[in-house]
């Protein structure tokens, strides 16, 4: 196995990001779609930290800190919306949420 370089980390991050996007398209469960978004956010975080290590800087790590804060806010609001929608429609399938469609 070759030694990990910056490229290895970037490729790993790209693979994780693609898995996350595939999850958003494939799954028919709104909670799993939110989880796929978390996978994508984490893939980008990995890129930030890897490039940080390459440059010997800490700015990427600080941005990762902010990304995590935003992810926590997004999860809280997103899950609150999921609870409200589930109470209304009795399903988690995003196909059923058509109230804004005219």
């Amino acid at each position: 196995m070759p030694d990990p370089t910056l490229n290895s980390y970037l490729v790993l991050s790209a693979v994780l990001f693609a898995i996350g996007t595939a999850g958003v398209f494939l799954r028919r469960n709104i909670i799993t779609i939110l989880l796929s978004i978390e996978v994508m956010l984490n893939a980008v975080n990995l890129t930030f930290v890897a490039v940080d290590r390459y440059r010997g800087a800490v700015d990427g790590q600080i941005i990762v800190f902010f990304v995590m804060t935003v992810a926590a806010a997004e999860a809280a609001v997103g899950l609150a919306i999921v609870i409200a929608l589930f109470r209304h429609k009795e399903t988690l399938s995003p196909d059923a949420y058509t109230s804004l469609k005219w």
Partner: protein
């Protein structure tokens, strides 16, 4: 040794993420995602970022995933409804597969692009990685405004979550 850990953590992260996406039961998805976050935390340790590794475990695996797990258990709707019983399909199987093909294409493109740039070996340990103290100083000096903005963001998210999830009277 580091090489071994990198490849094992990478394998765990990718496998767990694939299973997260391939799972029908959101309960298993959440638990597998926690595993994936643990592997990513190991990668952050390899990248000499112990602070990020710690907050990855505490905030992501500890707080956000518990929130997800709580909602999955609260709603008690474990599996996806079978395709036949869909109420009104917006995206049928066709657009869904097209989307999956597009994301595979995105992955292949990124893979191709990254493997065609020059290999950039990571610096050794002789220069010394910046510690948590450096992060703290930067965070509270140059990024102080952004830090304060996140406090407002969290407050707004808290109020918003309560208002959205409140039962209508």
């Amino acid at each position: 040794m580091e090489t071994f850990f990198f490849w094992s953590f990478a394998a765990i992260a990718v496998t767990a993420s694939v299973l997260v996406v391939g799972q029908r039961n959101p309960m298993y998805s959440v638990l597998l995602l926690i595993l994936s976050f643990g592997a990513l935390s190991g990668l952050y340790v390899l990248l000499r970022a112990p602070f990020v590794a710690a907050i990855q475990i505490i905030i992501y695996a500890g707080a956000i995933m518990v929130l997800f797990l709580f909602v999955v258990m609260l709603l008690n709707a474990p599996t996806e409804t079978p395709p036949g019983e869909q109420p009104r399909r917006i995206g049928g199987a066709g657009p869904r597969r097209f989307g999956a093909v597009l994301s595979a294409l995105l992955g292949i493109q990124l893979f191709w692009a990254i493997s065609h740039i020059a290999q950039a070996p990571l610096p050794g340990d002789e220069r010394g990685a910046p510690g948590v103290d450096v992060i703290g100083l930067r965070l509270f000096r140059e990024y102080a405004l952004a830090f304060e903005a996140t406090t407002v963001l969290i407050l707004v998210a808290m109020v918003g979550a309560i208002i959205l999830a409140r039962r209508e009277r």
